[in-house]
Symmetry: C2
Subunit: 407 residues, 2 copies
């Protein structure tokens, strides 16, 4: 290898690993022209071939695209302790062992880059780490799971959840076991990472409350249309009451919200700050080539000096009970006094109603309300009290609503 070679050891050779190898070969010359160094792969480790120690000894940088916690964690720690830079696309690992990895990077003065862990080719990690490093951030909203956004888009056109999931699996947007995507766990891991970057506080995946899309009803999407709201799986990380709130929930969005029109397998992240109002980044979610492109961008970033690892974490309380507007759906008996009773109970829990749609259907009626912002605990109590009335025919359903602050 030539003196101007920058040696990259590749751990993992699945979809992303193979796409990375191909893209690096395509782009090496252009990268060398720009940076004076040519990235070359000095070794590949898979389950069946390659020797980690040997690759480590030769490499300037290791790219980890194995996924999962072990052995990825051990490889990355060992590499950094040996003074090697690392690039990883591993959101599970970062959302569970991020602080250990960042601390190791700081202690050994090496870079750790992970653009591909969140948002596919959408450069949200770098924008938070670098462009906005001088900006105090108030809130991030993200559609960070392309699979569930695709399914919701199909459901909004009339498909059932099962049909939309099957179609997503057929065209390769969803895996055979889609649990991580549809339960919200994948999005929760990504929001933990974004929260760490935006607010400096360590957030473990286990600390992120999340709910997926697998229990949504076609009804919810139908009412969304009637109320002129879009339904998305939205991750939120925000400063609240001096602490930090991080969660992922199905959420209704007003049509003017920058995330409301993000359709299909796309990702988008909105960053709000008093200083800059808001910026939005959007693009295709993970795909082999998109992810590989983000990984290669990280490799180039390290070659050219790149950003330091995240600073030591700040202590910040995680707040669970935060205010939000809610959509509330009740199946009720169509009898006199029901609406009066419902509004009385809500009023007693300080839940104030912004809009209501009542629709009689034979002896049943449906009450669909959107509330003004209210503490979740207050809403939960109100819903529990309502659920105990005989005239409420099935469990009340609630979904968060993001209001049109920017209009």
């Amino acid at each position: 290898m030539a003196a101007s070679d920058f040696k990259v050891g590749l751990l993992g050779h699945g979809t992303v690993g193979a796409a990375f190898e191909a893209l690096l070969a395509e782009r090496a010359e252009e990268i060398e022209r720009f940076n004076g160094l040519r990235p070359v792969i000095c070794g590949i480790l898979t389950r069946s071939r390659g020797d980690f120690e040997k690759i480590l000894a030769e490499a300037d940088l290791l790219v980890e695209v194995i996924g999962g916690v072990e052995p990825a964690r051990e490889y990355l720690l060992q590499a950094m302790r040996a003074g090697r830079h690392v690039v990883t696309a591993n959101k599970q690992l970062l959302s569970q062992h991020g602080e250990e990895l960042f601390e190791t990077a700081r202690a050994h003065d090496v870079r750790i880059r992970f653009e591909a862990a969140v948002g596919g080719a959408v450069p949200v990690v770098r924008v938070l780490e670098e462009s906005l490093s001088a900006t105090p951030i108030d809130r991030i909203h993200g559609i960070v799971n392309g699979t569930s956004n695709y399914i919701l888009t199909e459901m909004s056109k009339g498909s059932s959840y099962a049909e939309a999931l099957a179609e997503a699996q057929r065209i390769g947007y969803a895996e055979a076991d889609p649990s991580d995507d549809v339960t919200g766990r994948d999005a929760a891991a990504k929001m933990a990472i974004l929260a760490r970057l935006a607010f400096g506080a360590p957030v473990h995946l286990d600390e992120v409350r999340y709910e997926g899309i697998e229990n949504l009803h076609g009804d919810d999407l139908q009412y969304a249309r009637e109320l002129d709201l879009g339904l998305k799986l939205v991750g939120t990380a925000e400063r609240r009451q001096g602490g930090l709130s991080v969660h992922v929930f199905p959420t209704f969005l007003y049509p003017g919200h920058p995330l409301a029109n993000v359709s299909g397998p796309f990702n988008a992240v909105t960053v709000e700050s008093e200083t800059i109002t808001e910026i939005t980044l959007s693009g295709p979610g993970a795909g082999g080539r998109q992810t590989a492109s983000a990984v290669l961008g990280d490799v180039v970033s390290v070659m050219t000096g790149g950003a330091k690892p995240p600073a030591p974490p700040l202590a910040m309380a995680l707040i669970e009970d935060v205010e939000s507007a809610f959509y509330l759906h009740l199946d009720v008996a169509d009898e006199p006094g029901v609406l009066a009773t419902v509004t009385k109970v809500l009023g007693e829990q300080r839940v104030s109603i912004k809009s209501v749609v009542q629709r009689g259907m034979g002896e049943h009626a449906r009450l669909v309300m959107v509330t003004h912002p209210v503490l979740e605990s207050s809403l939960r109590e109100a819903v529990e009290r309502l659920g105990a009335f005989d005239f409420v025919r099935s469990a009340p359903r609630t979904i968060r609503v993001i209001e049109e602050e920017f209009l």
Copy 2:
């Protein structure tokens, strides 16, 4: 000053300069916590106070927010020759003397950063320079002038151009002399800069063809609604026929286009690449605090090692005559055979029609057509021939159309 101070000389103290000074004071502690260095302002130069040589001698980095070509150019060159890093928000300067500045930065091994020159707080410069440095870019479309986007948004709601401009001036979105914004010249400067970053080829402001919004008719916006198209001032930089085409024109966008819903004084840039499909960045256009935030982000980037100046330029031919779909508006006498003659002339020039709206109004009729993509020169010839017919009552109007490639 302490040893951990990073000394910033500030050239210019208008809206952006003052906002930068305030923001730096607010954020210095947080920046020091993260980076170990504290940015401090070591001197301010305005027309009436400060001494350039003295500020230069003390500073680690100069921030230039004077605007215009001279004396900004001379200050920046002198600073880089003295080994100082520079940050500038000056799009006029970069689009006319960019290569001289970049070459000086490379020769003296200093950083030159200019995020604030394009897109306000939207981090498009850094994304092109760094995140996408490993990605071959095919095309950029940008709404990069917030003033004209605000005016067009108001016109689409029914205001006349004059009313919308007056309102923009009243609320501070447009200057007393709005020429740079409404003629497209400001957007052209920004597209020259983005084209250089995306394609590596030097593009001088004088080489960018541009047309503004000041000659648009209310009619055009009304027909846009009928054809379900949005009307925006769009800058485009794209690889075409082995060369590069850079231009700014009022453009109709199909509703699915990522730029079609960008309203008010916002900026947005879409980057297309075979590798990543497309990503879109959007946010508020220039405002004092947004621009200051981008400048401070650049300062932090330099403090932490930041990206190198752009590599030496690539030679790439600038292509003027490119294919595009067009909207064509003809005022014609309402007499037999007109449509047949028009379509015959268009056919002879190989202009093929995608959709047509004909509307009779007394003895006049209006023909509004959208063509399939056609070389601009062919369309111009066809329009010239049509304009010569007696039945054409006023000069034909043409506007570019961006088609829905992503739907």
